[in-house]
Symmetry: C2
């Protein structure tokens, strides 16, 4: 997956999209060769970012939109001193930085949970490109739309679901997203702590731990610290109410 030794005199960015195994989920989807070429010209690839080294903090002026290449990023809002509300975990091929378009500065913070690389799209150049290339503009709109529907699903989770449903939803969301990216949907390592999971799902750490144990007792999963194996996918799906994360809540349209 490390492509730096190819064609070292091409710009690094130029290599990144065309050979990137994530490109089908990422920005390039639906762009033709010319459009892609122009998009590639504005992308920077970040060096490897260590765990804990913030991409941005709350109040920072917005510079760029980011796509995760490898690793994972936690997006959160600091609340009380020493407290935070986790808003999401961003996996490879997913985006962050849409917050703060309104105020021109970030309204949340983003920090890698493990060694992470990202692609960076400077906002000013991206905006020009959006105005020049409708296809890019539409693609960005789609990504923003995904952000909004994702938030809505989270509101349903926090407003309505029980602790068990929340954790089942969370695990299945990860499973689906890993699968889409060519990783195993059945077993994976969590890059976030129990504390962070609980915070994200509106639960106490102890509750997360207990429900992991319960799921294990019931034979749904097998957990060892951060390593999770899903043993009974269907049973787990049954636990989730409607609207599993990251799936469209398709519904028969009622006649008006």
């Amino acid at each position: 997956m490390i492509l730096q030794h190819y064609a070292p005199n091409l710009s690094r960015a130029a290599v990144s999209c065309k050979n990137c195994c994530l490109s089908e989920f990422c920005l390039p989807t639906g762009l033709n060769a010319t459009e892609l070429e122009q998009l590639i010209n504005i992308i920077h690839r970040s060096p490897s970012l260590p765990r804990g080294k913030h991409l941005f903090k709350i109040g920072d002026p917005i510079q760029s939109l980011y796509a995760v290449r490898s690793g994972s990023v936690k997006v959160y809002v600091p609340t009380e001193p020493g407290e935070e509300q986790v808003l999401g975990f961003i996996l490879p091929g997913e985006f962050l930085g849409f917050d703060g378009i309104e105020a021109q500065h970030h309204t949340c913070a983003a920090v890698p949970l493990e060694t992470t690389t990202v692609c960076e799209l400077p906002y000013d150049r991206l905006e020009e490109l959006c105005h020049a290339l409708p296809a890019v503009d539409s693609r960005i709109h789609k990504l923003i739309g995904k952000e909004i529907t994702g938030d809505h699903e989270m509101l349903i989770l926090l407003g309505k679901k029980t602790a068990e449903e929340r954790l089942a939803t969370f695990l299945l969301s990860l499973s689906v997203r890993f699968k889409q990216r060519g990783f195993s949907e059945r077993d994976f390592n969590l890059s976030m702590s129990r504390h962070e999971i609980g915070n994200y799902l509106g639960l106490a750490v102890e509750t997360v731990s207990r429900i992991f144990a319960r799921f294990q007792d019931e034979g749904l999963i097998s957990v060892n610290r951060r390593y999770v194996e899903i043993l009974a996918m269907d049973e787990l799906k049954k636990l989730v109410g409607d609207c599993p994360m990251d799936e469209t809540c398709a519904r028969v349209r009622e006649a008006p």
Copy 2:
């Protein structure tokens, strides 16, 4: 506020922005005369919509972006049969319909809570306009950004706040929004039921009712059914944790 008797041979839409008392919060903000003219050309003004007559339902193909002119609209997702999750209440000068940009169909439903009029911006024509006029595009991006930061504030509310904090936050949010629009910030009528408030805030109806009563006992507010008077604004603000709704969580930027 009803302007229909002015200049009856101008197009209704042309009248609507230039004389509309909401225009400073609405789309036209920051547009010059030429841009405004073009924007006005694509706007339709809806007839008066009665309470309960949906603007759109889940699964409907997306047609338009809507701005509320008068009245109020509930946005919600149907969950279990007979159940719903309220995502927001849209007041005059505010927008709805950003959901479903991703999937090209709506992922939630919108219904007036009272007699309501809206301005309708057909997506296809709006998109063309966005590509032609960067200023309009930027304005739309800002509105979408507001949608996202608003959702984030809701996630904090549902993830962290107590019932009292939730209701105080809700009342102050309405107060601020009414004030911005030239209405009283101290007293107003709620267009939504206790049930809908509870659903929105992740609380049972009974809890909402009880906390209204408690706030009244403590002299913070006076409530009679849907009519609310805020008696001690400062006290109410103290009850809200950080991040009151609809205010930017401005924070001193930490050095990196």
